[in-house]
């Protein structure tokens, strides 16, 4: 049992989600009309980034960063139709919260341009030698005069090949506690010394852009530091408490989309055997539990009091549910062409923004500490 549960807050957020039913319908209508089968198929095959979808989603009012509940609904409903395009439409702002919470005025002006569609943002944390071990990163930013010189590389960076700016985490000093001495920067990808190599051959979410980044004596000014020097690790951990809820919403959307495929197949083929009915019940129950975990974790986030254990519970459970639902959909629909995309898309939910193993460690540590 997680202590400190604020029931009032929990119910008010559920009510808030209910009150956004019209908005939910608007998002779904957008997805159903824009995410045509041909388009989904094309981007899944070519692995190109659908920039027109990004701009259309923005223009249609589906990216309202002032209302986090709306963002979660957009992510969930678009991923319910197709996670490749759904994530591609909602991820160009990735890392923006770090600037929103800790950035200076100049950086916030750039963020406004990101939210208006002028720029695309990315977050550079994971490195080739370590994904889960954030504090073990090897990219360095050495201060020389009033500049920092950055060297190193980043791996599996979403938007890495299309971003105009990257929120980067790098080591600025060696400290006994390796969580210290890390600093966040806002990097312009046009800067000399920046290189992005697009990665091909993902199992799923192939409309999203993923790249390896290299920094070779890339210079930034001290004004490009986000927040305080040496506090970067904590900023990124705070960000993960937000982004993991986004992933839970992605996973929830994929699970619901897989269930849509199951229900469509069961109805069209007049399947009535109890074995299948029990499976339908089971996956529906898990999806409902995922929804409640996700909205519950979001309820704390919305009042600026994120609970890491609840966030990780939502992310790990919704991720597992997406995988379970998509595997079941494959089993019931017999390898259906459209269903298999849900299967391929689902697996990343257990990997990015912290593998399920990392999430489980966070949950157990928080619980053992006596709450959240």
């Amino acid at each position: 049992m997680v202590e400190g549960r604020d029931i009032q807050c929990f119910w008010s957020v559920f009510k808030m989600f209910e009150e956004l039913d019209d908005y939910r319908k608007k998002v779904r209508d957008f997805g159903l009309s824009e995410f045509t089968e041909d388009l989904i198929d094309r981007y899944d095959k070519t692995e190109e980034y659908p920039d027109d979808i990004r701009l259309k989603a923005l223009k249609s009012g589906l990216i309202d960063m002032s209302n986090p509940a709306k963002i979660l609904i957009s992510i969930e409903e678009l991923c319910r139709i197709d996670a490749g395009l759904g994530i591609a439409a909602t991820i160009p702002y990735f890392g923006g919260e770090v600037i929103m919470l800790y950035g200076n005025e100049k950086q916030k002006r750039i963020l406004n341009d990101v939210y208006s569609g002028k720029y695309i943002l990315g977050l550079g944390v994971t490195e080739p030698s370590g994904g889960s071990d954030v504090a073990g990163l090897k990219t360095t930013a050495k201060k020389i005069g009033d500049k920092y010189v950055i060297n190193g590389s980043k791996m599996f960076i979403s938007n890495g090949g299309i971003a105009d700016y990257i929120v980067l985490l790098a080591r600025t000093s060696d400290e006994e506690n390796k969580h210290h001495g890390l600093t966040t920067f806002l990097i312009n990808t046009k800067s000399p010394g920046f290189e992005a190599n697009k990665l091909h051959g993902k199992l799923g979410v192939r409309a999203t852009n993923t790249a390896e980044l290299k920094f070779n004596n890339l210079e930034v000014s001290v004004d490009d530091v986000i927040g305080e020097v040496g506090q970067g690790f904590y900023y990124i951990m705070t960000f993960f408490n937000i982004s993991r809820i986004y992933v839970a919403a992605q996973a929830l959307g994929i699970a619901r989309g897989a269930l849509d495929k199951i229900l469509e197949f069961v109805k069209n083929n007049n399947i009535k055997d109890e074995y299948t009915m029990f499976k339908v019940s089971d996956v529906s129950t898990r999806i409902e539990a995922s929804r409640q975990l996700t909205y519950n974790a979001a309820s704390y986030l919305f009042k600026f009091d994120p609970k890491p254990a609840l966030t990780s519970m939502a992310k790990v459970y919704a991720g597992e549910t997406a995988v379970y639902a998509s595997e079941l959909a494959m089993e019931i629909t017999k390898n259906d062409h459209k269903t298999q995309r849900f299967f391929r898309n689902a697996k990343i939910m257990e990997i990015w923004e912290g593998t399920s193993e990392i999430e489980k460690l966070i949950i157990s540590r928080q619980i053992l500490k006596g709450g959240n």
Partner: protein
């Protein structure tokens, strides 16, 4: 006999290790590879020697499927389609298989009974000259053309919609459905190869990859999970080559293949999600095998085996 099996296993291992599954998945099984599989005697493994085949027993055949599947599930599945599906249906008229077992042609296997506008919607080996139809009465048709479709697993096998002509019934006491029912042990062997291939990758990776300055293998959850999976891999190998009935063996193999290939992908983190590491294919193949061969038809067979009469149909 044990020595012969051991020698066969070593030979298939040697051959399998030369296969480039990534290339096979990208370009499909080409004539060159098909010829190689034929020259090894794999394509006609179960066909008697006096009919031009290799005349192997079931255990030898399953060793070939298991070991090849570890390296190239697509190649193992191709061998399975010919020996376990096509050959039983066409055993009284092997003319259709002459070019196939020589590695000069493919034989289509239809997964769907429906014929619409003279075409079959879901055909494995859609690039063959003939397709065996999925009808209750065994039948075959000439392929006129095919349109490629996406099949999630076994990407080396061409899959698609096939236009057909000159459909005719075949004199045979087996159709595709009951050929599959007689092949559960061989499907389990393919699953075992998928398990071995994915586990090997995870064990190797966890021994060299570090997180938090520690090798992954030193973390309890990873070491214990992988070790338990190795135990299950060994149990599956033992029961495949035993007298345990084939429905039980297949059932045990199916969940393990999916779970273990999925976990192996997870151990690789982000790298596992990319083709280059050769792990995600095992997860796709395990799922494709389950989606095609493991449904209520199989479960009713399993229940019939347990109850001795039809059951579980409500």
């Amino acid at each position: 006999m044990e020595d012969e099996y051991k020698l066969l296993r070593e030979n298939v291992e040697e051959f399998g290790s030369t296969l480039d599954e990534k290339k096979i998945e990208e370009n499909g099984i080409d004539n060159n590879l098909l010829k190689k599989l034929a020259s090894q005697g794999f394509l006609a493994a179960l066909i008697p020697e006096n009919l031009g085949g290799s005349g192997l027993d079931e255990s030898s055949y399953n060793i070939i499927l298991e070991v090849l599947s570890k390296y190239s599930p697509s190649s193992a599945f191709e061998i399975f389609l010919i020996n376990s599906i096509a050959y039983p249906v066409l055993s009284d008229d092997l003319n259709y298989l002459n070019d196939v077992i020589k590695g000069d042609d493919f034989i289509g296997i239809s997964l769907d009974k429906t014929i619409k506008n003279n075409s079959l919607d879901s055909v494995l080996n859609a690039n063959g000259k003939y397709t065996i139809m999925s009808s209750d009465v065994p039948a075959i048709a000439e392929n006129e053309n095919f349109t490629e479709k996406d099949f999630m697993g076994f990407k080396g096998i061409r899959f698609g919609n096939v236009g057909i002509k000159n459909q005719k019934n075949i004199k045979s006491n087996k159709n595709i459905k009951n050929s599959i029912m007689n092949s559960y042990r061989s499907l389990a062997a393919i699953n075992l190869g998928i398990i071995s291939g994915s586990l090997q990758k995870a064990l190797e990776y966890s021994a060299v990859r570090q997180a938090f300055d520690v090798h992954l293998k030193d973390f309890g959850p990873i070491a214990f999970n992988l070790s338990k999976m190795v135990a299950r891999e060994n149990i599956l190998r033992n029961i495949i080559y035993s007298n345990v009935n084939s429905e039980y063996v297949f059932d045990f193999s199916i969940e393990n293949a999916l779970e273990i290939s999925k976990y192996s992908l997870n151990v690789h983190g982000g790298y596992g999600y990319f083709k280059d590491f050769g792990v995600e294919k095992f997860y796709r193949d395990a799922m494709a095998l389950k989606a095609v061969f493991y449904g209520n038809d199989f479960l009713e067979n399993l229940s019939k085996r347990v109850y001795g009469e039809r059951s579980g149909f409500i």
